[in-house]
């Protein structure tokens, strides 16, 4: 997992809970990286799981909520860091559709070792976008946060329906219905 995910996560924890919480998370866990993260580095996915789990215990907030919140936060960070990607799209659906074949393609060019989920999209009818999330990391909550961030950014109101295609959470269908 790219270091930027860890650094942004720790930044968000520091903003919401203070550096004490960051220090707690890093100290209370046996982390292979030793709790040192840089945005350009690459770290094990399990470390993120440890950090989120610990944060949930410390903050009394459940993991999905945390991940969704983090997804929404990360979108704002991406917007600041890579505005060209986001501005290339006219609306939320266009953007979401471009993730799989555009953004991820570009990401792989920069980080050939990056492990990305896949997003298959389709528009079964006017005003509806369907996204199939596939990833062994089972981080659909995180993806949902990102989607919400997207809708907010493009100022689109809509309902996000979510159902597990596979019960272990590795394949999840998001159905986004535009409102108004």
């Amino acid at each position: 997992m790219k270091g930027v995910v860890f650094t942004e996560f720790l930044d968000m924890v520091e903003n919401k809970f203070g550096y004490d919480m960051v220090d707690t998370l890093l100290d209370s866990n046996e982390l292979p990286s030793g709790g040192v993260y840089t945005a350009v580095g690459t770290y094990q996915h399990s470390e993120m799981v440890q950090l989120v789990t610990t944060l949930s215990q410390e903050s009394k907030l459940d993991v999905p909520t945390l991940l969704k919140t983090y997804g929404k936060h990360l979108f704002t960070r991406f917007k600041a860091g890579y505005p060209a990607f986001i501005n290339a799209a006219n609306n939320a659906f266009d953007f979401l559709e471009s993730i799989e074949h555009y953004i991820h393609v570009e990401v792989r060019k920069l980080y050939p070792d990056a492990e990305l989920p896949s997003f298959e999209t389709s528009r079964p009818q006017e005003g509806t976008l369907e996204m199939i999330y596939k990833s062994e990391r089972k981080m659909a909550d995180f993806a949902e946060g990102l989607i919400e961030g997207t809708l907010d950014h493009f100022q689109m109101t809509g309902v996000i329906l979510r159902e597990n295609v596979k019960s272990d959470g590795t394949v999840v269908r998001f159905t986004i219905q535009k409102e108004g």
Partner: protein, 964 residues
């Protein structure tokens, strides 16, 4: 935990993170540097490489495209669904669909429907088995609906385990398929042909293995196996056919070896088997290009053919031998008349050697110029397949001629075409000579006969003239005052003269009969009346004898018959006269019975029974022969020529009857004859002639001159005339008649023909040809002769009619009625009838009018003559021409020539004139035949018209059907 500690840890984490990041960045920078280095190098060659690559790519693409576009095979691509996504121009060329029409089309729609399922399942299987490449032959249907057979290589393009597309390379194999089919049909045909041939066939390949053999071969050589079982077996080890079946196995073996060594077609071999059969053996080597592939043996049983040929040859020789020995010369010529073969006998006849004749034209060597036409005609007949025989003079080598009877027959080839002819010649020179002699003899005999006839006619005429004078003078003498002695002498003189007269008449009649100059004239007459008249005549003649004349007639005979009254009268007069001559006492009975009546015909038996001296049995056969009499005594005692009965028999036979005699010597004779008659009506209808007893309605000043020497006739006529109140004057002979005619005009002259001093002909001639009061008066002949010639002669001299003696009163009545009754009335009636009469339009009316000026009686006479003579003589021209009697035919044509115009057929008269002319020329016979045929054709058309008008004329001219 203190804040400071936390801060320290934070700083420491930040520092380590920075270091970590720096290390990563440095590594990345290095990677970047190397990448940059590489990039720089790359960049330098990039343009060149790109240019090169681009060029190579273009070339490659061009090459492929060209290859595909110009490929002779059809190339197409299908997507995984089977829809065509690409096809090259060959596809449209092959199937007739445009590329546009093909793209997007499902391949299956191109497959011939009955094969579709099979083809699809083949390719489905290919896809299931993931076979990379297959070959399959498929019938496609082109735009016109025709079948195009293709063989296609199909490649599957598979990606991710799925068939993405299908590439096919397809070749038109229609021709190959057709050739294969043709080949298989040909093979089947040949095989069945060989199997069904009526000959044993054995085909070997170059390795001496049996390739083909038929059942006939097995049967021919008694092979126990089925023909198919032999295929593949080796001929060398199989001993097929068995050498031991042949009469000479050694030479058979040699023959087989020689044939196989030479490898030439050989169909000249005959083999004899031990069982006597004869086989023909044909050897046919089989080559493909130059390569020897085996050979075919053909064995055929020709035993019966050989036997038949042998028989035929033997038979031919036999007949040729027979003909050669029969003195018949045989000559064979082709269609052009060129001699193909001259047989020995023919060469002997002509004096040539065979080699001098063969190859020459028969007509040039053997015929004189004038005979070539005859043979040419015959040869034309031969070529039409007609055989014929004719006589012709042939030239010998030494130039002499001999007559040959030549029988020519066409020679046919096996297809029935005439290829020449065979002439069989027989030397008929002696026969020809004989024939010539006979012809001459016949001509002389005929001439002699003609001379004799002429002599008889002349003689009787010459004799009659002085005899008439004797008879006439005797009459005159008897009327002078004579002593008793003189009376007796005169009486003797009279009877002798009469006998002499009768004799001469007989002889004349006989010669006329012999010459066929007496014709049967059929007219209706009252039979009973005739019989009664005859009886009456003999009543008078027998007045001085103790003999009764009896007439017995069958009651059934109450009819008018159609026949020749004159001839019957002559027969009865002869027979009764004969009876009277030989009967001194008793009776002469004329008995007439109807033997049979069939419809409109009757057969009547006439018997003349006398009680005279009779005839000895051994003389019965003689009496009807010419110039024969029963005995010399008879001749002395009774006189006569011995012709009477011969004439009688002839006359009976002429009328279609027969005559016979039965007799008992000393007791009498019965002459009986039988005659057929056609019925013409009942006698009642004719009974109106009873009116003869009433006086005629005549003008008081009418007077008839009767020129008649016979006292009996004078008496008879005068009795009738008195009864009818007719004034008359009798002249006793012609001269008296002429003298009277010069003194006074009469209304009618009745003229006897045979008279002393001057006969009726001479008298008529004198009256018609000199200026006198009776030049135009009708003259009616009274004649006892039924001879046509007499009648004609009388008419020619200017007589108007004639009456045959002895005549019945009614006939005389009729004559008087005709010539004495009111002429105006008579004329009116005639005018009326004649005005209504018109000739058939087919006849030349103008000509008839000119001829007859509507004198229909004259016309009738001419038609009558024509119908009874000229019309009957006309076909004789043909008969004469057939007999090659040109001169006679010419004469007859000349004779008949003027007759046709007389009945309104001048065109036919001209035809006859032309015929006469062409017959006058010797070598114009064909022309004459043509003219005669044309004349016959014309006559056929006119004959019924002439007959019809003749009958119509008859009705108008003599409505009662009777003319004198």
């Amino acid at each position: 935990m203190t804040e400071l500690e936390i801060l320290k840890r934070k700083i420491e984490r930040e520092r380590r993170a920075r270091k970590q990041a720096e290390a990563i960045l440095e590594q990345k920078a290095l990677e970047l540097f190397h990448a940059n280095q590489e990039l720089q190098t790359l960049n330098e060659g990039l343009e060149v490489t790109i240019a090169e690559r681009t060029k190579a790519l273009q070339e490659s693409e061009h090459r492929y495209r060209q290859m595909i576009e110009t490929a002779s095979d059809m190339i197409y691509r299908l997507d995984s669904e089977g829809l065509i996504t690409y096809c090259n121009p060959v596809a449209s060329y092959l199937l007739g669909f445009s590329t546009k029409q093909l793209i997007g089309r499902h391949f299956a729609t191109l497959i011939e429907p009955s094969y579709r399922e099979k083809v699809i399942s083949f390719y489905v299987k290919q896809m299931q088995d993931q076979q990379a490449s297959t070959y399959f032959e498929v019938p496609l249907v082109d735009q016109l609906g025709d079948i195009v057979w293709v063989g296609q290589n199909v490649q599957l393009i598979v990606k991710d385990g799925e068939t993405r597309q299908i590439n096919a390379l397809t070749r038109d194999i229609t021709e190959r398929r057709l050739a294969e089919q043709e080949l298989s049909t040909t093979k089947l045909r040949l095989t069945s042909l060989i199997k069904n041939l009526q000959a044993g066939i054995l085909v070997e390949n170059e390795h001496h293995q049996v390739v083909l053999v038929n059942e006939q071969l097995c049967q021919l050589f008694g092979v126990k196996k089925e023909a198919n079982e032999l295929i593949g077996s080796s001929i060398l080890t199989g001993n097929l056919p068995d050498r031991n079946l042949f009469l000479d196995p050694g030479s058979y073996e040699q023959l087989l070896l020689r044939l196989q060594r030479e490898r030439q077609i050989d169909t000249q071999n005959e083999l004899v088997l031990t069982d006597g059969r004869i086989l023909s053996l044909d050897y046919i080597p089989i080559f493909a290009e130059e390569q020897y592939l085996g050979h075919l043996w053909k064995y055929e049983d020709i035993t019966s053919q050989r036997i038949a040929e042998e028989k035929l040859r033997w038979s031919e020789e036999k007949y040729r031998g027979i003909i050669e020995n029969m003195e018949l010369g045989l000559l064979e010529v082709d269609n052009d008349g060129m001699i193909l073969q001259a047989y020995d006998r023919f060469c002997e006849m002509t004096g040539y050697l065979p080699e001098e004749l063969v190859g020459k034209y028969a007509s040039e060597v053997l015929l004189s110029e004038e005979n070539r036409g005859v043979v040419d005609q015959q040869n034309r007949d031969r070529q039409k397949g007609i055989a014929g025989s004719y006589e012709i003079p042939l030239l010998r080598k030494d130039g002499s001629l001999f007559w040959a009877l030549l029988s020519g027959a066409p020679i046919f080839d096996e297809r029935g075409q005439v290829v020449g002819s065979l002439g069989i010649h027989y030397d008929v020179t002696p026969q020809k000579q004989l024939e010539k002699d006979l012809k001459e003899a016949k001509y002389r005999a005929e001439a002699a006969q003609e001379a004799e006839k002429q002599f008889l006619a002349n003689m009787s005429h010459e004799m009659r003239t002085p005899l008439n004078a004797i008879i006439g003078m005797t009459h005159l003498l008897s009327e002078t005052s004579t002593s008793d002695d003189q009376d007796e002498y005169i009486s003797l003189l009279k009877s002798s003269a009469n006998i002499l007269h009768a004799l001469i008449t007989d002889i004349l009649d006989f010669s006329k009969i012999q010459a066929g100059e007496i014709a049967v004239q059929k007219k209706s007459f009252d039979l009973l009346g005739t019989l009664e008249m005859t009886k009456r005549t003999f009543d008078v003649r027998l007045e001085n004898k103790d003999v009764d004349m009896v007439l017995e007639v069958d009651e059934q005979i109450d009819y008018i018959v159609n026949g020749d009254e004159l001839l019957l009268t002559q027969v009865l007069n002869n027979l009764i006269g004969n009876a009277a001559k030989f009967t001194e006492q008793g009776s002469i009975t004329l008995d007439v019975q109807q033997r049979e009546r069939m419809g409109n015909s009757v057969l009547l038996d006439f018997k003349v029974i006398d009680t005279g001296i009779g005839i000895p049995p051994n003389k019965l056969d003689l009496i009807f022969q010419n110039f024969k009499q029963v005995s010399a005594d008879i001749k002395v005692k009774y006189g006569g020529t011995g012709l009477g009965l011969a004439i009688t028999r002839k006359i009976v036979e002429l009328q279609g009857g027969t005559i016979k005699v039965e007799s008992e010597h000393g007791k009498g004779s019965v002459f009986s004859f039988c005659l057929p008659y056609d019925l013409a009506g009942s006698r009642d209808a004719e009974q109106k002639t009873d009116a003869i007893d009433t006086p005629l309605q005549l003008d008081a000043d009418k007077e008839v001159l009767v020129v008649e020497d016979n006292f009996m006739n004078q008496k008879y006529v005068s009795t009738l005339f008195k009864k009818w109140n007719v004034r008359y004057t009798i002249a006793n002979n012609g001269r008296e008649g002429v003298q009277l005619a010069q003194q006074k005009a009469y209304d009618l002259i009745l003229m006897d023909i045979q008279m002393p001093v001057m006969d009726g002909y001479q008298a008529t001639e004198a009256i018609r040809n000199t200026e006198n009061l009776n030049q135009q008066t009708p003259i009616v002949a009274l004649t006892a002769s039924g001879i046509i010639a007499n009648k004609e002669r009388g008419m020619a001299l200017g007589m108007n009619d004639y009456l045959t003696k002895p005549f019945k009163p009614d006939l005389m009545h009729k004559v008087l009625q005709t010539y004495l009754s009111n002429p105006n009335k008579h004329k009116d009636l005639a005018m009326e009838q004649q005005a209504n009469f018109t000739f058939d339009p087919a006849l030349d009316f103008d000509y008839l009018l000119e001829m007859y000026e509507m004198d229909l009686e004259y016309a009738y006479e001419m038609f009558d003559l024509f119908v009874h003579h000229s019309a009957k003589e006309f076909p004789q021209i043909g008969t004469l021409m057939q007999k090659q009697e040109r001169e006679a035919a010419k004469k007859l044509s000349h004779k008949l020539k003027p007759s046709f115009p007389m009945v309104g057929l001048p065109a036919l008269g001209q035809k006859m004139a032309a015929l006469e002319q062409s017959l006058a020329l010797e070598d114009n016979f064909a022309q004459a035949q043509k003219l005669y045929a044309e004349a016959v054709e014309m006559w056929k058309k006119y004959e019924p018209i002439i007959q019809k008008d003749y009958q119509r004329l008859q009705k108008v001219v003599s409505p009662n059907g009777t003319t004198a």
